[in-house]
């Protein structure tokens, strides 16, 4: 089948955008370290920097997945099956953590368990448990987003029919014969994505653990010394080994996720948006703690931004002031102000949106066009669009950085929009994941009817397609902006040697300053609060437009 020109261009552009930086990074590092995959893998366990990293990465990702599902499924059940006052607000609160910048979450959990919070920073076990819970906090949204639509929009006739059949007389029977088969693809898809995000976690690992590393954080820590001939060769091998393992594992997860999501979309019977739900007062025992859980780290961050520690000869005391905020916004000769970081962040986000939205939409449309006649090719394209999930954001940042050095270091290091390359790579997959289910659910009969009315293609797009997809488009816009604003891993690598501070980078920089400066920690929380506030605003706005049946992930 022939692809439209726009589709071919989009696929080509995206392939270049994603493959070229990764290729440049890998090519450079292979050139330094040599091509010997077994040496790469062996160096991971052989070198003190990376010993135990593989096992730790898998362990924390698997545990995070299990805990996330254990917490998320009961919540999704309550939200999907029963009627709640302020339902949209509750859902927004519970799914909001996913769009929160990981650095903000890291600050939140640090303060929650630190001296100014629960004060339970005891040992490695505490750190590890905190990391797992932080991952669950983040990825709860995935379980809710995947599973709740199935539960809330299922045709009530199906359940009623099941109750009348012998197989469905008992609750266990109904779970086994109706809910489990219907929910299994959604649960599995949520598990895959939770695993992927936990596997590539960076900011949380960097700030919550006591020196433990995942593959991602190891690559970030030693990435700056990669690609230099005859310099720290072992580090190049470690990076290659880590990338190989990470890429393989994540690609397999994403392939599975793509299959599950397609199967899930086919499995979902035509559902009713108008279903009568019952009230379940006892469900508050699940939802209320969940809401508190979702809000606690964010409240902790905001709280800590006003709490200033004073240490003198008499001891340590605390006061409530706005000095942290003033410090953040004042800036200094050695650090940009929060204003500069904000303008940079907003600028990058807007440019990213202008590129990622049309690109992601066209890719989603291409997948849809292809999957009717060539489902395998469509799945390949689908997985291609998810490669940035499989390639760590740090690797993406490395690729962009090494690409810059190779093409024209001076130009790119002085070109303000350079970090946008990494932002587009990271946000485009989200656009695809939002638009693809929306396009799949758009009834083709509307376009056919418009054709029979003599309406030309451009007018059909503007008058029919855009309005019908309005909700999903707005969600994609808002999500892209939120993801770009909060992007940390790739930006950390790309902007480290430049003056283009973004809000997440500023938070990290402030937090990295030695603790003897009274205002840096509160300032980090102040900037976190600012970023959190913007994200919250965007996200609340997105919830107004999200289609009820949307089970597309975000």
């Amino acid at each position: 089948m022939k692809l439209r020109l726009s589709s071919s261009c989009a696929v080509l552009a995206y392939t270049l955008l994603v493959v070229v930086p990764l290729w440049l990074a890998i090519d450079r590092v292979i050139w330094v370290a040599g091509f010997n995959p077994s040496d790469w893998i062996n160096s991971l366990n052989g070198n003190y920097i990376s010993q135990g990293v593989v096992a730790f990465t898998f362990l924390q990702a698997l545990l995070s997945t299990v805990v996330t599902l254990a917490i998320g499924l009961p919540i999704a059940w309550q939200l999907g099956r029963y009627k709640w006052p302020l339902q949209s607000l509750i859902k927004a609160t519970l799914t909001m953590p996913f769009v929160m910048p990981s650095i903000v979450a890291a600050m939140g959990f640090l303060h929650l368990i630190g001296p100014s919070g629960l004060n339970i920073r005891i040992d490695d076990t505490t750190w590890f448990a905190t990391l797992i819970i932080a991952h669950a906090w983040f990825n709860l949204a995935l379980v809710i987003r995947f599973c709740e639509p199935v539960l809330s929009t299922l045709d009530p006739n199906l359940e009623e029919q099941m109750r009348l059949l012998p197989a469905g007389h008992s609750k266990i029977g109904r779970i086994r014969n109706l809910w489990a088969p219907l929910l299994a693809p959604s649960v599995a898809a949520a598990a895959c994505m939770t695993f992927v995000f936990s596997f590539t976690s960076f900011a949380l690992v960097r700030w919550i653990t006591l020196g433990d590393n995942t593959l991602e954080s190891v690559m970030a820590n030693i990435g700056s010394s990669a690609g230099i001939p005859n310099y720290m060769l072992a580090r190049n091998e470690i990076i290659l080994g880590a990338s190989l393992i990470q890429f393989t594992v994540l690609l397999a997860s994403l392939w599975l996720m793509s299959r599950l999501q397609q199967r899930r979309q086919n499995l979902l019977p035509q559902a009713s948006e108008i279903t009568v739900k019952r009230v379940n007062r006892s469900g508050w025992m699940i939802l209320a703690p969940a809401v508190i859980f979702a809000l606690s780290p964010l409240i902790a961050v905001f709280w800590a931004s006003f709490r200033i520690r004073h240490t003198d000869s008499t001891g340590t005391s605390y006061s409530w002031e706005t000095s942290g905020w003033e410090f953040a916004f004042a800036g200094s000769s050695s650090m940009s102000s929060a204003w500069d970081a904000l303008w940079n962040s907003l600028g990058y986000a807007m440019i990213t949106l202008c590129i990622a939205l049309p690109l992601g939409w066209t890719l989603a449309q291409t997948i849809l066009d292809v999957e009717k006649e060539r489902p395998r090719t469509a799945r390949f394209l689908d997985v291609l669009t998810m490669i940035p999930f499989a390639a760590s954001s740090v690797m993406i940042g490395l690729g962009v950085m090494l690409g810059m050095i190779r093409i024209n270091a001076e130009f790119f290091y002085s070109f303000w929009p350079t970090p946008v390359i990494a932002h587009v790579m990271i946000t485009t997959p989200f656009v695809v994941r939002i638009m693809l289910p929306a396009l799949r659910s758009l009834n083709p009969i509307y376009d056919e009817c418009a054709q029979t009315l003599g309406i030309p293609a451009w007018r059909r797009f503007v008058s029919i397609r855009l309005p019908l997809l309005r909700g999903s488009i707005l969600v994609a816009v808002i999500f892209t902006l939120a993801m770009s604003l909060g992007e940390f891993g790739a930006s950390w690598v790309v902007t480290r040697n430049s003056d283009w501070t973004t809000l997440p980078i500023m938070i990290d920089s402030l937090r990295s300053i030695p603790y003897n400066n009274t205002y840096t920690a509160p300032a980090a929380c102040a900037v976190s609060s600012l970023l959190m506030g913007i994200t919250l605003l965007l996200f609340t706005w997105a919830e107004k437009f999200r289609p009820a049946r949307d089970g597309g992930m975000f």
């Binding site: 509307y446 056919e448 009817c449 418009a450 054709q451 029979t452 009315l453 003599g454 059909r460 309005p467």
Partner: protein
């Protein structure tokens, strides 16, 4: 699906095509209006070969089995899609739905929806109108009334039409002649 199939429609003529489910009635209509491609053969409209023209350029209208009304538009908005300069009130009056302009599409019944779809299709001034079992989702009384009304409108406008239905009785009431597949 079809071979050695010739169909000719005279100006102002209404024909009905009947046949069992799955015999290709809907596919035939979709080929005529351009929503499906022909493997072989030609379609002529007023002596012009429209076989390779896209659907929006053929001037052929289609009424679908269920009313296809755009949910984000009111009744008036839907009609304007047929003809942005059209006389909406007159079109609605013609189909017996005066003062329906500002109604939301989700608030109107199936029969009313088909009337709106007909008004919209006629506003586009099609050279021929195709109807794909538009009465099948309505009850007998309503469909009977609609059959009479739609036939009267088409005859008044001298608009040639092809109705596809599995209901022989409706076919004989609506059309000048009936073809069985």
């Amino acid at each position: 699906m079809f071979s050695d199939f010739d169909l000719e429609l005279k100006p102002g003529e209404i024909i009905a095509i009947t046949g069992p489910s799955g015999c290709g009635k809907t596919t035939l209509l979709r080929c005529i209006c351009g929503l499906e491609k022909l493997d072989s053969g030609n379609i002529y409209l007023n002596d012009e070969d429209i076989t390779n023209l896209p659907a929006e350029k053929r001037g052929v209208g289609l009424i679908f089995q269920s009313p296809v009304l755009f949910p984000h538009l009111s009744v008036e908005g839907n009609l304007l899609l047929g003809n942005k300069n059209g006389e909406i009130s007159k079109a609605l009056e013609e189909v017996g739905l005066s003062e329906f302009e500002n109604r939301r599409v989700e608030s109107i019944s199936g029969g009313e929806g088909q009337r709106v779809a007909l008004a919209r299709a006629l506003l586009a001034q099609p050279k021929v109108l195709l109807l794909d079992e538009p009465f099948s989702s309505l009850d007998d009384e309503l469909s009977g009334k609609l059959v009479q009304d739609v036939r009267a409108i088409l005859k008044q406008r001298k608009c040639p039409a092809v109705l596809v239905t599995h209901n022989r009785i409706i076919a004989e009431k609506f059309a000048d002649s009936v073809i069985s597949l």
